[in-house]
């Protein structure tokens, strides 16, 4: 492999750049000194501007196409693939979007993907949690292009300002020609004054140890309110009916790795 150059797929909603991108850039900078960002969207000029400000970024590649407006996996993967060969590493934050699109890219490149890395050991070796964080595996990839999703809480974000990357516009033809098979219908986002769970540094959590749904409302919610934090819930799938279904915390659910979690009255969380 020749020079190490990383490509980070920006996480955004066409309006603003999501902070998780900064964590992915941090991981990329530990791999290579040259890091480019792909902003694939529709009318995402503001996002591209913001991406250009990120400290340490060399170049922003901006692709505008109606096919990319909703970040659907098929057109987005095609767009990434059109420039993939220029890079040694392709990274995205391990968000719903990143996890959705990158394995498609990896399969088309006929390479493995490294999911949810928490540490860069060397440009080809990474640490990642397995068994829901009950073990940490050190994994080495022999593939020519490494496709990686980054566990955002594993890396401190780089500064959002201070950089001065050039913005290069590229055509969205690759995305447009792959846009027919799926279409976007609608989105229903929960509005909350609290930080999103995936981005939160601290999560208040409580579960079975509390005994009942009322107890949960009595203890966890006021604490979270007192702190202005999001709260999560340690439940088994079978118990979701008993407890207020705020979100799921536990083995098969989504996984967060905040700096601190306070499991209330839960003597030994069996599987966080």
């Amino acid at each position: 492999m020749a020079a190490l150059i990383s490509l980070v797929i920006a996480e955004h909603d066409n309006q603003s750049l999501k902070a998780t991108t900064l964590n992915a850039v941090a991981a990329a900078l530990q791999i290579s000194s040259e890091v480019d960002i792909l902003v694939a969207g529709n009318g995402a000029d503001g996002v591209a501007q913001a991406a250009g400000q990120i400290a340490g970024v060399r170049k922003v590649i901006q692709v505008d196409s109606p096919a990319l407006a909703d970040q659907l996996a098929e057109p987005l993967a095609a767009q990434i693939l059109s420039i993939a060969k220029n890079y040694s590493h392709i990274l995205a934050p391990a968000t719903a979007n990143g996890k959705n699109v990158l394995p498609r890219v990896a399969a088309k490149l006929d390479v493995a993907q490294l999911s949810d890395i928490t540490r860069v050991v060397s440009p080809d070796t990474f640490e990642r949690p397995i068994y829901a964080g009950n073990a940490i595996a050190t994994v080495q990839s022999a593939d020519s292009i490494k496709v990686i999703t980054v566990r955002t809480t594993g890396f401190d974000p780089v500064a959002a300002t201070g950089g001065s990357a050039t913005i290069e516009k590229q055509s969205g033809d690759a995305a447009a020609s792959n846009a027919s098979s799926s279409s976007f219908v609608g989105r229903e986002l929960t509005k909350s004054d609290r930080p999103e769970l995936t981005a939160a540094k601290i999560i208040v959590s409580g579960g079975r140890g509390l005994g009942s749904g009322e107890k949960y409302q009595e203890v966890v919610v006021p604490l979270a309110d007192a702190l202005g934090l999001p709260w999560a819930h340690h439940v088994q799938p079978s118990m979701q009916a008993t407890y207020p279904m705020i979100t799921k915390w536990g083995k098969p659910a989504r996984l967060w790795l905040p700096n601190c979690m306070s499991p209330l009255a839960s003597p030994e969380p069996s599987n966080t």
Binding site: A73, Q113, T125, G133, T190, E196, N259
Partner: protein, 249 residues
């Protein structure tokens, strides 16, 4: 419509895994093994689609050692029609499994493939997406609701901060999230019936796919240890401790 469901045999979700002392991996000798919970949801969804008259045949597939037959029998007891085991003792990584599933989807001419979004052992969350890419068909990951009508699948997906609905033209790949359904308990009569259903065993070589592992696990370690907790009287005391003792806020 024929539907393919992929299931993986994993360490049961109630088992607390231990890292081997030589750090070569996780100790899974004499540990209870079960069907990956997300895959169970996938089988249940397929059976519900069949009960609704949308699906005509459910083929359940697993790739791994010979013991995966037990997992396949469980899927047959939930309601799948027949099973295929791709038998291999090799370390099967997501890309290899995706290639195996592609070969079988092509062979069986399945219109839809449902998989769990991730296995609870390696937590990769890749196989479904990789399969969709290899087949060049659309995907809907993290599904919490699936509606099939007029050759289209309308799928509600769990994304960060809420839900998103997309429409796919079939054939398509769907991966399940926790809220999609609650799998039924298998009954004894169904377990007996499952024993009579067909279970075909093939080798990866017969499918002509490259299953060589691409990733090498150098070592597996325990995560940092958690220290013992203390009881606090009320919320105020906890906030106080978090601020001044633990200094996390």
């Amino acid at each position: 419509m024929k539907i393919l469901v992929a299931v993986k045999r994993v360490v049961d979700y109630n088992v607390k895994v231990r890292v081997k002392s030589d750090n070569s991996g996780v100790d899974i000798a004499n540990v209870k093994m079960s069907m990956n919970p997300f895959d169970e949801i996938a089988v249940e969804e397929a059976v519900r689609l069949k009960e609704a008259g949308i699906v005509t045949e459910i083929i359940v597939v697993s790739a791994g050692p010979t013991q995966c037959q037990e997992t396949l029998r469980t899927a047959l007891a939930i309601g799948a029609d027949r099973a295929i085991l791709v038998e291999s003792d090799a370390d099967l990584q997501p890309l290899a499994v995706a290639k195996i599933l592609k070969a079988l989807t092509d062979k069986e001419q399945a219109q839809m493939v449902i998989l769990g979004k991730q296995a609870i052992d390696d937590d990769s969350n890749q196989t479904g997406q990789m399969l969709a890419a290899l087949l060049d068909i659309p995907q809907a990951t993290f599904a919490s609701k699936v509606v099939i009508a007029d050759g289209k699948a309308t799928v509600t997906r769990e994304v960060d901060g809420g839900l998103e609905t997309i429409a796919l033209t079939l054939p398509a790949v769907i991966t399940t999230d926790l809220r999609l359904n609650e799998p039924r308990y298998v009954t004894l009569p169904n377990i007996m019936k499952a024993k009579k259903k067909t279970l075909e065993i093939v080798k990866p070589e017969e499918l002509g796919v490259d299953i060589n592992p691409r990733l090498k696990t150098l070592k597996v370690e325990e995560p940092p240890k958690r220290t013992a907790g203390v009881m606090v009287a009320d919320v105020a005391a906890l906030v106080e401790k978090l601020k001044n003792e633990a200094k996390v806020i």
